[in-house]
Symmetry: C2
Subunit: 93 residues, 2 copies
Amino acid sequence: MSAGVTRVVVDVMLKPEILDPQGQAVLNALPRLGVSGIVGVRQGKRFELELADGVALDGAVLARVEHLASTLLANPVIEDYVVRVEDASAAGA
Amino acid sequence: MSAGVTRVVVDVMLKPEILDPQGQAVLNALPRLGVSGIVGVRQGKRFELELADGVALDGAVLARVEHLASTLLANPVIEDYVVRVEDASAAGA
C-alpha cells in the first residue's frame, strides 16, 4: 500500500487452550524439512483494514474497529484478538 | 504464552495485485454492520513460532525461519511475508 495510508491491523489467534490443528500440522512438518529448535506453532489470521482518506485515527475509529473485531473478525469464545495501528512507513516488504 | 518464551512471528499476506475474496467479503459486510470509513480489507495469515528453551535468537535461527516462511508458510508467487521477533513482554492479550 502507498505511504500515507492509515492501516489498522487486527491479529486473531485461537486462545491458548483451544486445539490448533493447522499450527500442529505445520509443527509436524518441520522435522521433514530438517528444521529443529521450534517447539510450538500457532496459526491465526491477520486483517489489514485501510481507512478512508480524511478519517482521523482517533478513539472513536479504534472503538469501531474493536467492535468489528469482536463481532465479525474474531469469535471471542475461542479466539483472542489484538487491534493495533501499523506505522505505514515501517512496513518494508 | 508465559514470559520469557521467545516467539518469532511470520505474517503472510496476499500480494497487493492478487484478488483477496476473504478480505472483500469482510469489506462487503461492513455497511450491513453500520461501519463506515474503511475502504479496504485484506486477510492474511499469522504464524507464531515458539523457540525451544536455550535456542538463542541469532541470525542462523532467523535465516531458518525465513527459509521456512518461503517454503512452507507462504507461497512466494502470490504471497508476501514478514518475519519478526515479538517482544513477549509487550504482548498484552
